[in-house]
Assembly symmetry: C2
Homo-oligomer: 399 residues x 2
């Protein structure tokens, strides 16, 4: 409200029912669900079968008389064609609800499939940004259950889904109220099997959801609570989870941080760091999203620490830095110092864009793509980045 | 989960959409609502009409073609008969949804009325505890919109409703998933009209929802975030709001604290302090709920600070006490010290049970009533109070 610009004004809406805790997957056998037949969406990799998670889910559903069909083609950066195919399968098989089982790619795909199972035309008809047509979604989505086996995107408690359209190099986020999962099961025991490098990348994705949500224009006193605790838990336990994947205490902290950062996604927003990273991994699909963010983060947050020092002084405090003892001019810089220490503690300070095949001569194209396809997030920044600043930021991040 | 007793395991489910901020009532004219005709539930007092809030709500609804009927009999401690009458009116008038406009009593009544508008029999058939029959609720409830004009109960973002059955001296809380308001509007401008004494009582009600939620067995890392910030905001701004009701900054802090304490109600629980207070105000309806809590609080939290010192050390930290500098044996006591200072700063240290007509010879009856009618909350305590301890606690609180 303009007349009270100094006072908080914000929305909170997180309708998802969350079951959090080690061993809670088994409650899928008893919690209220949404029909007699489920489409289970999993990745094209073998892990959901290999670790027995798919069988557990099917058995729990079967024990209560719920039939299920599996769609198992989802790629790490999920693509439009698989949304179309999954939705067709859901319609053909008369599925009543959709279960996303796995990491962010499977859960995001479950959301988009649930939407297209109920709506006509092509998914890109409804997308805002890039070549999307931005049409209103007439029929909502099938009910969605998110069972996350990673701690990274927080997508189990937000309405957002990120799908790539490979032929146009577009990787775009989208969501409607009905793409909030109705139920999310966050069971850290399912995360014990995540390899060290993915634990690292996904954990930092959660961290940057929180950090960006904290500096976004959309931040509120409620999203700040979630963001602060998410960052603190990751600072405390991410390195331990990366080092020893069987450490259930560390896994639980990281899982909780991830769920909290999903709440941040639902109450605040990402900023342009995510737009820039989406451009990197749209052009170079071999880049894990979290790795892209890590490589961008020092330059990105350093720039913003100069532009919005007050928020960064708060961020420094959240990260346990002794802000009050520092020189006034140094205070906004302490967050990046803490971030750098955390990246080093997790062994991620050796990541280089050139190792992922990014060439220095394409940075301008990447900067332009970030604004074309995910331009909306730039409006969440408290300082308006110019195109030249985006290129410069990529250049500083380049090694 | 028993096998991981040291690790957090909890649910989060707060489906209410919250619009928070000064001036946001006007969005009632544009947000998605739930039908063509609303029952508006308000208190039997004149304030909703006098301050123009009822007309504003009716005009905003009318501007979008929504008809409304008013039920205006609700008492400060709302009673069963008015639930029955309001539900009858909603059915006769074919209302599609129910708006609770006012304080906790109007919003709680709106919830119970919305439930009984959809279900057969008597409301007490569904109540658990006391003489309630504990029957399952077959048909949910009409959609509920909560527009809170006070900062006290947090009921706008939780499923709970407290109704009194005067003939049996029972004041019992109840809720089902469908009694979560679908929409809550928390507009601190509507709170500028709350008199000083009610600001005080309601603000402390919010404070104790947070403090009890923090020490309850049901507390989780998520409810702790809400509880801590709620207490901090009240410690910072309640005295200012009590002193100068026109201070919109202080009102906003207190309103936010109240919404956060409602989130605590939805993610943790009250403890036996609320059972004890409900007994006081069931037998002495002239006692404002918050006043009853204030009079009980010092003895209550002192007792628990001895039984569960670790949680109280955390509470002391939350209240800004220099816990680490204190003697180890003193650390758990610092919360009560901060609470006492806050009660004094708000001018509430002169409240006496005898001034409200409580006689010392009825304390045993009150203690017994607390356990009979709200016994469930005793199971939320981390230390099991004996009947004798309850009486002793009331005796220490008695002046």
């Amino acid at each position: 409200m303009n007349e009270h610009a100094d006072l908080p004004s914000f929305d909170v809406h997180i309708p998802t029912r969350v079951l959090f805790g080690a061993g809670r997957l088994k409650e899928l056998g008893v919690v209220p669900l949404y029909g007699k037949k489920a489409l289970i969406v999993i990745s094209s990799g073998s892990s959901m079968r290999r670790f027995g998670y798919l069988k557990q889910v099917q058995d729990l559903l079967g024990s209560r008389g719920i039939d299920s069909v599996v769609f198992d083609r989802i790629l790490p950066n999920p693509i439009l064609d698989h949304v179309t195919q999954g939705a067709q399968l859901a319609r053909e098989q008369h599925c009543d609800f959709v279960i996303g089982l796995g990491g962010g790619s499977s859960i995001d795909s479950a959301k988009s499939i649930a939407l297209m199972a109920q709506n006509p035309g092509n998914y890109w008809d409804y997308i805002h940004g890039g070549s999307g047509k931005g049409a209103p979604v007439p029929n909502g989505a099938l009910p969605i259950v998110a069972i996350t086996t990673t701690a990274g995107t927080g997508t189990e408690v937000d309405p957002w889904t990120v799908i790539t359209r490979p032929e146009t190099n577009e990787k775009i986020g989208f969501g409607i109220p009905e793409t909030f999962p109705k139920l999310a099961i966050v069971d850290p025991e399912l995360m014990l099997s995540v390899p060290s490098d993915m634990t690292l990348y996904q954990g930092f994705d959660a961290f940057f959801h929180a950090a960006e949500g904290f500096i976004a224009t959309a931040a509120s006193p409620v999203s700040d609570l979630f963001a602060a605790r998410s960052m603190q838990l990751l600072q405390k336990s991410l390195a331990a989870a990366v080092r020893d994947g069987s450490d259930l205490q560390a896994r639980t902290d990281v899982a909780l941080a991830n769920t909290l950062s999903g709440f941040v996604e639902s109450t605040s927003s990402c900023t342009s760091e995510h737009s820039l990273e989406h451009a990197l991994s749209a052009f170079h699909p071999n880049i894990p999203h979290g790795a892209g963010l890590i490589m961008l983060s020092e330059a990105y947050f350093s720039l913003f620490s100069e532009k919005i020092p007050d928020r960064f002084i708060e961020l420094g405090r959240i990260m346990g830095m002794d802000v009050d003892q520092a020189e006034v001019s140094e205070r906004p810089k302490l967050f990046v110092k803490a971030l750098r220490a955390m990246i080093r503690a997790c062994g991620a300070d050796t990541l280089k864009m050139s190792d992922f095949g990014i060439r220095e001569d394409e940075l301008e194209v990447l900067a332009a793509n970030a604004r074309e396809t995910m331009g909306g997030l730039f409006s969440m920044d408290r300082y308006a980045l110019s195109d030249a600043e985006c290129v410069e930021l990529l250049r500083r991040s380049y090694r």
